[in-house]
């Protein structure tokens, strides 16, 4: 769907949470293709996943196709890889993205590389769903946004929706994509509601979405920073600053063209993300924009990622750790 179509559809679409939207995408995919199955910790009913992504699905499709695992992330991801090598379409759940650290060998050394290492004789059509903490006082080991590790690992597709609608369409695409996809679901967004078209639809990977049009400054972001950016833009509008908010939606493939087109117009770019700013995803975007629009920008490209530190627990510090609407607005003002 184009943004316009989406906007039109939104009026009529039923409203649900991002978690429900995820659930719908899985449900539709499982209904459509008996080779789709889910595995992960506590994903069976009655829990249906600690974030409810698979709620009801083990009851509907049976415990063969929605199966609990031991606490064994290496085995979870590895088993998904194995089944996918012969054409199945496993959806693995890693409860929180921080626990990718336990499974990085399967993710980076196997899932990402097996197509290349086999000269294309095999491929790994898995989807790994994972919750991304942050903003909930979960502390240093349950709040990390690790898309940067994934981006630096050639062979992985990296997806992070910011709305229920995007989540459903992107996850559906991931499930039937022939490459390993990491689907990051932000905890702060999982239970926010939004319009979601009924039935089956797919949103292509690698296509950014302009969540708000504007002329003065281009604000590039994704995931749970999108609502923060939109809130900042809203505030700035009243001050006469027009901000374009681009939601990248997928980090790999990266829709840099969308960013460049907007930046050519506004000549001012701010990149905002929850991942660590230093050596983070924004650095790539800033480097490319600075390179491609050399001599054409009014101001240097600005970045606002999270502070260079582990994530603090106390709410008073955590608020300062991640970008948030007030500081985002200030940064835009400095640019405009």
């Amino acid at each position: 769907m184009t943004p316009q179509q989406q906007a039109n559809a939104a009026v009529a679409d039923p409203v649900c949470t991002l978690s429900d939207a995820v659930n719908q995408a899985i449900d539709i995919a499982m209904e459509e293709d008996s080779e789709v199955f889910c595995l992960g910790e506590d994903i069976e009913d009655p829990i249906g996943g600690v974030m409810k992504g698979t709620k009801g699905l083990s009851t509907k499709y049976g415990r063969d196709r929605v199966r609990n695992t031991p606490i064994s992330e290496q085995a979870i991801v590895g088993a998904a890889i194995g089944a996918s090598l012969v054409g199945m379409r496993p959806i693995a759940e890693v409860m929180l993205m921080d626990f990718f650290a336990v499974a990085m060998d399967q993710v980076a050394n196997h899932a990402a590389k097996l197509r290349y290492m086999s000269g294309g004789r095999t491929n790994v059509p898995i989807t790994i769903r994972t919750s991304v903490g942050g903003g909930r006082q979960f502390g240093a080991q349950h709040s990390q946004s690790l898309e940067g590790w994934m981006m630096q690992t050639p062979g992985l597709k990296v997806v992070m929706p910011s709305t229920p609608r995007d989540a459903k369409g992107l996850l559906y695409t991931c499930i039937f994509d022939d490459d390993p996809c990491i689907h990051m679901e932000a905890l702060t967004l999982l239970f926010t509601r939004g319009p979601v078209p009924a039935g089956r639809y797919a949103i292509p990977l690698g296509v950014a979405d302009v969540k708000r049009s504007g002329d003065d400054v281009t604000l590039v972001t994704w995931g749970w920073q999108v609502p923060e950016a939109l809130a900042a833009a809203e505030q700035l509008e009243s001050e006469g600053i027009s901000t374009e908010v681009i939601d990248l939606r997928t980090l790999v493939p990266l829709d840099i063209d969308a960013v460049l087109q907007s930046a050519e117009r506004t000549k001012r770019v701010l990149i905002v993300h929850a991942a660590t700013q230093f050596a983070g995803p924004g650095a790539e975007i800033a480097a490319v924009v600075s390179h491609e629009l050399f001599g054409e920008l009014e101001k240097p490209v600005e970045r606002m990622g999270s502070v260079y530190s582990p994530i603090p627990y106390a709410a008073e510090l955590e608020t300062l750790h991640y970008p948030e609407r007030l500081r985002i607005a200030e940064a835009v003002r400095r640019l405009a």
């Binding site: 600690v50 609990n68 300062l320």
Partner: protein, 327 residues
């Protein structure tokens, strides 16, 4: 092995009472909205660390998990600092920067609290290795859940500890669940003690809800470790008397089993035992309980009245000397 004296049994029971009272008080605060934090119940598991604590020295090391408030209390982390940390206050063990899942207090030997299942075991082997290398006679105890036995780190650590014969005690608090999944639903192993015995270290299952049994097992394991006899794997049988964390459901738990476990819950059960088998007077227990109640209340007041960490704290403690920025 020394027989368990009444004094020792009472000390253990007092620790259990402190743990239970603290938990009850926190739950009350969470229910009323007075407090907000992620809280992992330790109700039903009090006897394990209480008995272990009795046989540890202050300078011994302990490692635990998110579900570790009981371990922290038993190891002697000051209640004020513990509660302040759980509340995210600057007076907490980590100045409020760690939170309930990351309590560290080297002063009392509580070295690491980790939120990653299995993550603590390799670290504990390293702590024990330091004692072996230094010959300092310390013992390391590492606590973890039954579910943690499925993860790779656990196996690597147990194998390494057995190989190196370092003074560590692996305390598996088998509360029969990993989050929402029952023991039999994540492994076909009949017994964890049996499984880990095959790594070439002492391993046994013990009634983790009995002061007497736990104390005996803990003393044996700790004495063996301290005297150079190598590591032990203790499978401490217990039961998680509530949901995984505060606010989570229990619908997946067998209600009959839960009711039976509740009827045999360790605080009441060991209280009955102290009275019936050890001839401890009700008055002694009542007075102790009142003292503990007051202590807990005062510690919580301290925590509540403390300030949150100041903004500068965001950037400190990343590295030893530099500002937080890596450049």
């Amino acid at each position: 092995m020394t027989a368990l004296t009444n004094d020792a049994a009472l000390r253990i029971f007092r620790t259990m009472t402190t743990i239970r009272t603290t938990e009850n008080r926190i739950i009350r605060g969470l229910n009323s909205g007075e407090l907000t934090m992620t809280f992992y119940t330790v109700r039903g598991q009090e006897a394990i660390p209480a008995a272990i604590g009795e046989h540890l020295r202050r300078e011994d090391y302990m490692v635990t998990t998110y579900r570790g408030m009981h371990d922290c209390i038993a190891k002697g982390v000051p209640l004020e600092e513990l509660l302040a940390e759980m509340c995210g206050k600057s007076t907490g063990t980590s100045k409020g920067k760690g939170g309930p899942m990351h309590v560290s207090d080297p002063h009392s030997g509580l070295m690491v609290t980790t939120g990653v299942v299995g993550g603590g075991l390799p670290i504990a082997v390293g702590l024990a290795l330091s004692s072996a290398l230094r010959g300092d006679g310390r013992v390391t105890v590492v606590n973890f859940g039954d579910g943690a036995t499925s993860i790779g780190a656990t196996h690597e650590a147990v194998n390494l500890a057995a190989l190196w014969q370092v003074p560590v005690v692996f305390v598996c608090q088998n509360n029969r669940y990993g989050e929402h999944t029952k023991f039999a639903d994540y492994t076909r192993s009949a017994s964890l003690a049996e499984r880990f015995a095959t790594y070439g270290l002492s391993a046994r299952a013990v009634d983790g809800n009995s002061i007497e049994a736990m104390s005996e097992a803990a003393e044996a394991a700790i004495t063996q470790a301290r005297s150079g006899g190598g590591p032990t794997f203790l499978e401490c049988m217990t039961y998680r008397l509530g949901g995984h964390s505060f606010g989570s459901t229990t619908e997946y738990m067998d209600p009959d089993e839960l009711a039976r476990a509740e009827a045999e819950e360790p605080v009441a059960r060991n209280r009955r035992w102290l009275v019936a088998e050890r001839g401890i007077g009700e008055d002694v227990l009542n007075q102790m309980e009142a003292e503990v109640e007051a202590q807990v209340e005062s510690a919580l007041t301290f925590a509540k009245n403390s300030d949150p960490p100041p903004p500068e704290e965001l950037h400190t403690d990343v590295f030893s000397t530099m500002a937080a920025s890596p450049r």
